[in-house]
Subunit: 600 residues, 2 copies
């Protein structure tokens, strides 16, 4: 029995704790736990939204696992996408546990582990689809499923209470590029033997029909190759190896040389080729730096940047800032990737710039150049019907996707009482007869990373950033006389004049600082109030406003008694309140106000 | 001849200057100018993107018009949407010129003019579709077109060089809710007589086919009314009066009372009802505050908030924060509006929360509850074919939309040399034989508004906000001895201890300030270095880092000669550079560093 939920943990139950991926896209991480053992499936990260300024990466909070380290028998990876393996470096820094994954998955994961110096201590165990691994109370069987990256598996967990199938990401591609089908036979056999719980991918639950085969883009892109008169830029995710295979095949057929730009793309192509997941004729590959040596119609350039990422090759070319690749009149660009919600504006900007350079652009909204790697409604129903589970729990998606998947499950005959829509941090308790969801108890959370992952970003700092971005910051600086808590009032005329002169000299930098001169006249230090700001107003054009704000600060201090002035905090609070009222009334703005009060 | 472009302005030409709306959605404003006269069509605003923190509103820069005030014969409004009239208050503050618009358009525009105290001086002239107004060298004929708001017009301008048709927003709705068709007859007549230039709406140029009739949503919403067991929330834009009419009609048929929430919605319904554009039975309207007095299945609640705006009634209900309306298990929500790109995340959040409360949600991605007010490809081709203009210029849209519209024009036979894709600030010179585009000369621009429109937001302040939001701000404060430019080095041990105590008292506010005590020992003022920050690190947990940063600041100052220390700016630069290197190397973060150097 553990301290944070009230039930008897016994041989008769398995508890399931989603640490991420139930209530959002990305951050996929699921804990399965018995009395004796824990296994974890996937350790994904998530990329930030626009409302998380300065955040580079979001990782799952794993304190639940750190506290139970000795119970963990292994981390099982379903495939090599970052939303499933991107937090592995962070997890392995804190947990010394074995990792299981297919050859390609581990090869891709190793790159990041090396980058963060945890590869040497990582216990990586390669499994092949069809393998079964015993992990304490659990026995995990890996089943091949089709997805946008090769070597993807679903996991069938034999547990003391029954079989749980965790699909990972999947679709039922009937004509996969590498010829490897989803393991429908084993899924059907599991269904016949009896599945207690299905935990399944909800990413595309809201899409009707069946997701087309990866191969379906081939014809469209073939036609684009035929039409392309000059250079042809093909942009996709660096992990979309089936897509990349088709691009390389088409380049060969159309006798174009292939230049690859982007570090992750180069790495993945090299790794996948070495391991035999990609079939590339090296004679057709050239160094992207040599691209200008060839005729435009002899070239294909593979690149990333499909989401409008500002530092990607595509964005740099759009702005003509790329060191050696140029977008020119008559070139063709294929953005062969999903337009991820939230990225429309960034992608739109890149497209607009490419069009201004005279390029012809194909993307998923005007041509069939992309298909999803995730099953749509009919794929999800097929999975449900193959397994015919007693209980069902949707995963991978926002609440609306999970709910839609729940509706699909009901439509194929799963009893609605047996469908459990849970979210991160909830505890799902499974017995052979029951499946219950218990409330969130702070088991899960998110870790924000800005810069190096050693420096986790606190929620409060993020909130400050959002407030700073809304209306900027104002720092009033007050110097009080130390001996009496009182200083002589001084006309600011002279130093104002000085400040103004200083300002003009500095105005090119917009440092918005009025330099501070404490005047020592008649041998006595006097108080002087200065205000600096950033992101609030253009100081050069707002002298009157700032003078008025200084005046208000001055009168706040004058209104305080000597005792009150002894309390620095109280002085700060009074100044803050007065300036907040002033700026709000005057301009309807609410900058962050951060008074500095000094005694000299 | 004017000073900023090099051609002879004579009776033989008309120049056209887009001040907004060519290269973006919104901000629609077009200038038509002859030797003697200027007319302006539309004065729209634009709402900011997520990458413009703290910006409330974007207005077109109108200095081009202010400099030519005496030539302006009128501002012509096509319809009452904010992207066409939302900047009128700002324009009329600076220009004293007559305004022409239909009854409903002027009624809606008046609301904002009143709000900004410019209504009394505004010269508003009501025109009706079919009217012609003489404006100096121009003669403007107003033609009714169908759109999502009633009383919308296109404008046929007779000019010294020929006829220009400026469509405004339109679609060809063959079964409009108010029975008023687009004036196809007059458009056809103009085409027969000869149109020199068509300037046409590109919003939906990328959509194939024809935009369905506004009436097409009626059946879907009727079915939703039939299925709704509890309260029914219908959300749309406050200006979508045809939509609102259908909702009110359906409420009557299904015997539900209508509660309206949201000031803009209430205002527009009142205005449109008074003017006869909306047919509402007052017996069916109740005050939203009384909603709880009625049974849930007897109620329809009309609200705004379709874009996930955080302060809208819908968002408040989603979070159970609405003062008198509650979203409950079994309620139904129809979001009957376009999901505007950039708003997906916000709308998605609201939908997730509504689903958690047990509501059933319909939106344009899962039901036919919305149709656009803008014509798709086939509507645009019909407009082109009715008018058969010699020259064509697309407007209203980002560059990709304009380009797509250009392709459509070519597909119906406009000579590609006669199709001109221009952008804001360019000058289009039109003669009976030619149409040429001249480069941008700073004629156009954007004015950012944060808070009150009196306080325009400078670009540079916006850039500061973005930088502040990325990594926060660090303010090192250095006090130098005034007499010598040198102070005695002092152990910070004591004051550090004090600071720590202070900090603990303040930690709930995360004010992140280390209070400053300048120690006066042996009658001599000594230097002390303090660092404050916001949005950078959580100061309570980063004492070591901050101490190290102070140490670096201290050694920078020590390394400077007395003369160097005389130059406050140079001292600031040195500190800034050293700390920038330190934070970048240590944490890969680049906060804004803003040193304050004082002499005491």
């Amino acid at each position: 029995m553990t301290e944070d939920f009230e039930f008897e943990r016994s041989e008769g139950n398995v508890s399931i704790i989603p640490l991420g991926g139930l209530g959002e896209f990305g951050l996929n991480m699921m804990v399965y736990e018995t009395e004796n053992d824990i296994i974890v499936i996937d350790t994904g990260f998530m990329l930030p939204n626009a409302d998380m300024p300065g955040v580079d990466l979001i990782l799952p909070d794993i304190h639940y696992l750190v506290e139970r380290q000795e119970k963990i028998r292994g981390i099982l990876l379903t495939h090599g996408h970052e939303d499933h393996i991107g937090a592995l470096f962070y997890v392995l820094r804190q947990l010394d546990v074995p990792v299981y994954g297919t050859q390609l998955t581990l090869a891709i994961a190793s790159g990041r582990l090396r980058e963060y110096n945890v590869l040497s201590k990582a216990q990586l165990n390669t499994i092949a689809p069809g393998d079964t691994v015993e992990l304490g109370d659990f026995s995990a069987e890996f089943l091949h499923v089709t997805h946008s990256i090769p070597d993807t598996v679903a996991i069938a967990l034999r547990t003391p209470v029954g079989v749980i199938v965790h699909t990972g990401d999947f679709k039922f591609d009937m004509t996969p590029v590498d010829g490897k089908l989803s393991d429908i036979q084993t899924l059907a056999r599991l269904g016949t033997e009896g599945v207690l719980l299905l935990v399944s991918d909800s990413t595309n639950a809201e899409r009707p029909g069946q997701t087309p085969s990866e191969r379906s883009i081939y014809g469209t892109v073939d036609t684009i190759f035929q039409k392309a008169e000059q250079k042809l830029f093909l942009c996709t995710f660096s992990s979309s190896l089936h897509r990349i295979q088709q691009f390389i095949d088409l380049a060969g057929i159309h006798r174009r040389l292939v230049a690859v730009t982007g570090r992750s793309l180069l790495n993945n192509i090299r790794t996948a080729t070495e391991l035999g997941y990609l079939n590339v004729n090296p004679d057709y590959l050239i160094d992207a730096r040599d691209a200008s040596m060839f005729k435009p119609h002899e070239l294909v350039i593979l690149s990333t940047g499909s989401q409008g990422e500002p530092r990607s090759a595509l964005s740099l070319m759009a702005l003509d800032n790329h060191p050696f690749l140029k977008m020119e009149q008559g070139d063709t660009v294929v953005i062969s990737a999903r337009i991820i919600p939230g990225n429309e504006k960034a992608i739109g900007n890149v497209v607009n710039h490419l069009l201004r350079r005279g390029a012809k652009i194909y993307h998923e909204r005007n041509a069939d150049v992309h298909v999803s790697g995730h099953g749509s409604s009919e794929d999800l129903k097929l999975m449900l019907n193959l397994l015919q589970p007693k209980f069902f729990m949707p995963m991978h998606g926002e609440y609306q996707n999970l709910m839609r998947h729940a509706e699909l499950a009901e439509s194929v005959g799963i009893a609605s009482d047996n469908i459990k829509v849970a979210e991160d941090g909830e505890l799902i308790l499974l017995t052979p007869e029951t499946c219950e969801v218990f409330g969130r108890e702070g088991r899960s959370g998110r870790v924000f990373v800005d810069g190096k992952p050693e420096f986790e970003l606190e929620d409060i700092v993020l909130r400050d950033r959002i407030q700073l971005s809304e209306d900027g910051i104002v720092v009033p600086i007050v110097v009080l006389h130390s001996d009496t808590g009182e200083g002589e009032q001084e006309s600011a005329a002279n130093s104002q004049e000085e400040s103004r002169q200083q300002l003009e000299g500095e105005s090119t930098e917009n440092d918005a600082q009025i330099s501070i001169h404490l005047t020592q006249s008649q041998g006595k230090v006097k108080k002087q109030i200065e205000i600096i700001s950033r992101g609030f107003v253009y100081m050069d054009k707002s002298e009157e406003l700032i003078e008025e704000a200084k005046e208000i600060t001055r009168s706040v201090i004058e209104s305080l008694s000597d005792e009150q002035k002894e309390e620095i905090e109280a002085v700060q609070d009074e100044i803050r309140a007065a300036l907040r009222r002033f700026f709000s009334k005057q301009m309807q703005r609410t900058p962050l106000i951060f008074p500095v009060v000094m005694r000299v």
